[in-house]
Amino acid sequence: MSEEIVIAGFGGQGVLSMGMILCYSGIVENKEVSWMPSYGPEMRGGTANCVTIISDEKISSPIVSKFDTVIALNQPSVDKFESAVKPGGLMLYDSTNILHGPKREDIEVIGIEASNEAAKMNNTKILNMIMLGAFLKKRPIIEFENILEGLKKVLPERYHHLLPLNEQALRKGMELVEAVSINA
C-alpha cells in the first residue's frame, strides 16, 4: 500500500493537521509516513497545502507531482490540483464552498457538503474532520481506532474535551461520502 495525498485549502481550515493525523495514525500502524507542507510568509488568507504519503515501504520522494488523492477545501485548490490527480485517482472537495467542482472524467470526483454539515454541528472548525472521514471511508488505509490515536496526538491536550466532537465529525464524513457515492 502506498497512498500519495495532497490536502489543500485556506490557511486556518486545518489542512495541515489533516495530514498530520494521517501520519501519526500511520506510525501507530507501523507504516512509513511523510508530510510536506507548503510554507510561506505570514499572511492571512493565503492558501496552504500538505503532501502526505502513507506507505508500507520506505518513502523515496516526499515530493510528488501526481497524487492518488486530492482533498480540496477551497476553489483555488481545486483549480490548482485537478490536473494532478493520477488517472483513476480520487478528488474530494467541499461542495458547500466550492462552486466549480472538478471536470475530469478519468478520476473519481466526490463533493461533500462539509461546511454545511460543520455549520449544522455548530463548529466550523471541524470541516476538516468531516473531509478526513470521507476520505477514510473511500480509502480505508488506516484503521479507524488508530485514526483516533493520531487525532489525540495532533490535538493539544487542552482541547481533548473536543475529541468526541471530532470523532463525530469523522463519522459524519464517512456517512456523507457513502450517501454521495451511492447517488453518484
Binding site: P41, E42, M43, R44, N97, N116
Partner: protein
C-alpha cells in the same frame, strides 16, 4: 448557501446602510486614500499598524508634493514589500541595513528626500550598528521606526523591544530580563547623539495619534529639506497576529502595556 450568508439574510442589523449620494460627491471628500498609496491590497494582517504607517507616509509625500523627489528604503520585516504599496522609487535593503542603504543613496543624491522604514528587529537588533552610526553622522535622512515589540515577519520571536515578561516564540515563558536583557529604548539613545535633529515617539492606534504621527513624519521631511541632520520617528505599533490578539485587543494592550514603557512624545526637538 453558506452559513454566513444565511445569517445575513436573517439579521437585518448587519445590512449596509447605502451611502447617500447627496453627501458622497467629489467636492465633499474630506478624507481619501493618498495617491502615493497604490490601489492594491496590502499583505498585512488585519489591523496591523504597518498599513496605517504606510498610509500617513503616503499622505505626507502627497501633501508635500515630493513623490518625484523621494526615495524610500524598505527593510526586511513585515514591511519588506512596502515598495509594492508606495508609488515611489524604492530600494529593498538587507536585514538591518536600511539606514546604511539610505546613507548611500542620500550621499550621492543629496537633493532628494530619502527615508528608511524599519522594524524593531531590523533597526534595533541586527541593524544596531548601522542605526547608531547613521544617526551619529547625522545623515540627512528620515528614519521611520515601527516598534511592535516582536519579530512580525518570522512569526513572533522576541525583539529587542519586547516588554519584560512578554511571551514570544523565543521567550515562551516571558522575556526574562536577567538573561535576555531589558527592552532596548533605542530611540532615547539616538536622541543623545549630536547627529540627530528631531527624535520623536508616536503611535497610530487612535485617530489623534495618527494625526500626530503624520505631523512628525512631515516635520522629518521638512527638516531634511533644510539639511538639519537625522530625523527619527518611532511609531509604537501592534502585531495582532503574533501578540495573538484581535486588532482591537492589540491596540488596547498597546495602550496599556507598551505606552507606559515607551511613552509618546517628542524626545529631542530642534532648538531653533
Amino acid at each position: 448557501m453558506s452559513m454566513n450568508e444565511r445569517d445575513l439574510l436573517e439579521d437585518k442589523h448587519f445590512e449596509q446602510v447605502i451611502s447617500d449620494e447627496s453627501i458622497c460627491t467629489k467636492e465633499n471628500i474630506v478624507y481619501e486614500k493618498p495617491e502615493t498609496l497604490l490601489d492594491v491590497s496590502m499583505h498585512y494582517c488585519p489591523g496591523c499598524g504597518h498599513g496605517v504607517a504606510h498610509r500617513i507616509l503616503a499622505e505626507v509625500i502627497d501633501e508635500l508634493g515630493i513623490q518625484q523627489e523621494v526615495i524610500g528604503v524598505a527593510p526586511v520585516g513585515c514591511s519588506v514589500l512596502a515598495y509594492n504599496y508606495l508609488n515611489i522609487d524604492m530600494s529593498e535593503a538587507a536585514h538591518g541595513r536600511a539606514s546604511a542603504v539610505a546613507t548611500g543613496i542620500k550621499r550621492v543624491l543629496p537633493e532628494k528626500y530619502v527615508f528608511s522604514y524599519q522594524g524593531d528587529g531590523d533597526l534595533a537588533a541586527i541593524g544596531t550598528g548601522e542605526t547608531i552610526h547613521t544617526c551619529n553622522r547625522g545623515e540627512n535622512i528620515l528614519i521611520i521606526f515601527i516598534n511592535n515589540g516582536i519579530y512580525g515577519m518570522t512569526g513572533g520571536q522576541m525583539a529587542p523591544t519586547t516588554l519584560p515578561g512578554m511571551k514570544s516564540t523565543t521567550s515562551p515563558f516571558g522575556r526574562d530580563v536577567a538573561t535576555m536583557g531589558a527592552p532596548l529604548k533605542i530611540t532615547e539613545l539616538l536622541a543623545q547623539l549630536p547627529g540627530t535633529y528631531y527624535v520623536t515617539r508616536q503611535s497610530v492606534h487612535k485617530p489623534l495619534n495618527v494625526r500626530k504621527a503624520k505631523k512628525a513624519i512631515q516635520k522629518g521631511f521638512e527638516y531634511q529639506k533644510l539639511n538639519k541632520g537625522t530625523c527619527f520617528v518611532e511609531i509604537v505599533s501592534n502585531c495582532p497576529s503574533n501578540w495573538k490578539m484581535t486588532p482591537v485587543e492589540s491596540n488596547k494592550w498597546l495602550d496599556e502595556n507598551m505606552l507606559p514603557f515607551y511613552p509618546l512624545g517628542d524626545i529631542k526637538v530642534p532648538k531653533d
